[in-house]
Symmetry: C2
């Protein structure tokens, strides 16, 4: 069987079988990052993220600086999604020999901007000739036993998402020039910035980890809210109910969807690379969490609730009708209405 027939999810399942989780590794393949208990008062959190030309990015619409920025942001976001603080990053850089030194310098400027903002050092790397691809290994730490996994959500927990969703996808379409919608300048700027220079949400992660009652489960929105929420629920053995009218849809995404007579919710649920945090909070911790975020000036929105697995993964639309939570990202996504 070819990989193209198996698909990425199928391959990941196989790889999980081919790898092991035993001490000191306490969490392995299948979460945002691996967790290693190496005997200190903090656990190690490590993730590797591959970022490849024409799969994850194009060089005709993004600068080298932006490509570097996005690669590092995507990698560090996996640490934020575990509740970890970043320490170091290691870059495997594959570049064509015809690339200019300036191009590589600009990539590093992008890496550095994101790493510096998170107090993460680029502590190692390897550079080889090849098609343009960037593998970033992100290393962080979290207090021993406190890493927030995908698998901890329980029935009754509230589902929250930080910031807005659909922004990066809206920005990508604006940058690609395939949008005819009249998008106000401020919204356009925010969306394009969201696509060119996403920020890992260490601010939200730090806020949540400082609470008496931490999130029960967390994942970053890298492939789209719907698909990432599905992953969290699958890992937790639960279902979920999402209220469509609660989803914090990016304003530019709304404009684009309106102009194209498409459902903005579909774009918001299916658009990836927002790198917002999607997390679940036990019922008695909802109010303290909302209050802490309000004090800190960080936007978080309750969008639904974890339910029993038997109750499925559903979306309540504005009219009140209930549909299945979409299974795919924006590209292969048929709008629910």
């Amino acid at each position: 069987m070819k990989l193209s027939d198996l698909g990425e999810a199928g391959l990941l399942e196989l790889i999980r079988d081919w790898t092991t989780i035993r001490p000191p590794v306490t969490t392995g393949v299948g979460d945002d990052a691996a967790v290693l208990d190496i005997g200190g008062d903090r656990d190690l959190v490590i993730s590797i993220d591959a970022y490849v030309e024409d799969v994850h990015f194009r060089t005709d619409t993004l600068t080298a600086d932006e490509i570097g920025h996005r690669a590092m942001a995507g990698a560090l976001s996996d640490l934020a999604a575990m509740g970890a603080t970043g320490v170091a990053a290691f870059v495997g850089l594959h570049v064509p020999p015809t690339a200019s030194v300036d191009f590589v310098h600009d990539l590093f400027r992008g890496f550095r901007r994101v790493a510096d903002a998170a107090a993460v050092q680029i502590a190692g790397g390897d550079t080889v000739r090849g098609g343009l691809a960037i593998d970033v290994t992100a290393v962080g730490t979290v207090p021993h036993g406190k890493a927030v996994l995908r698998s901890g959500a329980r029935e009754g927990d509230a589902i929250f998402v930080s910031g807005t969703v659909g922004r990066s996808e809206a920005g990508r379409r604006l940058i690609a020039g395939d949008v005819t919608a009249d998008v106000p300048a401020a919204f356009r700027r925010e969306a394009e910035e969201g696509h060119r220079a996403p920020r890992p949400r260490f601010d939200v992660s730090a806020l949540l980890m400082g609470l008496r009652s931490r999130p029960t489960a967390m994942i970053d929105v890298s492939d789209g809210l719907a698909i990432d929420l599905r992953r969290l629920c699958e890992a937790s053995g639960t279902g979920c109910h999402v209220a469509a009218h609660r989803v914090p849809i990016d304003e530019a995404a709304k404009c684009i969807a309106w102009a194209e007579s498409r459902d903005a919710l579909a774009l918001a649920l299916g658009g990836g690379e927002d790198y917002e945090l999607l997390f679940t909070i036990a019922p008695d911790a909802e109010e303290p969490t909302i209050e802490a975020a309000r004090r800190a000036g960080l936007a978080i929105t309750a969008i639904g609730r974890i339910v029993a697995a038997d109750d499925g993964m559903t979306l309540t639309q504005r009219g009140g009708s209930e549909v299945e939570l979409p299974r795919t990202g924006w590209d292969h996504f048929s709008p629910p209405s």
Copy 2:
């Protein structure tokens, strides 16, 4: 300027400038691996190694299992070269969508064989479509402050190498079929095995780290004894004298060189991917080190001595004449005699 004009060493210099070393990172770009002091009684040692088709390996002479084996061996060898023990490995796998599931499974079997032998877990990975390339991030630990760097060699130290050198290059040529020499079956088998399935020398590393007087500097022989010794000396700010007749040349390499009327030493000094350990020992620790290796049944050979930088990096040939230690690997290497 293009990367091809700058070369890998030039690029590495630039990258060193673009990155930082500050706590908790105590050693960064430029050694075999980075060292991080994260506050426990052991330091973290982390390295990333990129392994790319048609740069580092060919799929027509190696199986997927062997490719996986070699990628993991090369990555873990960087940990051994720091005196570290391995903990976990993270694999960034770029494969064409036309690759078969069996091919990827075989790669993982190769990864696993080497990782299992070193008690290292494959704890995470990312798989993307692309040209065949494998980035392995290796994570290990070493007692706090005890990582053996390239930079610690001092004038008067003895230079040792484990095992034999030139074996992998001899094996590569035998496998490629471009050898007409009559190589005895046992030597051929050893050389081919050395190329297909090299072993990171955690055994030698563990022996050395258990001594009262550890190596002052260490590096693994990944690009060739001569070039790797040069790197060690440059990092230490020293020169070196190597005695040609002391270099433990692989037997198959000797046969090949003899049949081609070439210098076996050139092949041995320039052939990469042996993954033997090259290390320096303070004068008063030489005898205990040799004795310990003898007791453990591990072959190590003293091949020369560290000298002042002003005395250069030289090679004393069999006849007694002194030449400069070669600067390049086998391919671009003109024999010294």
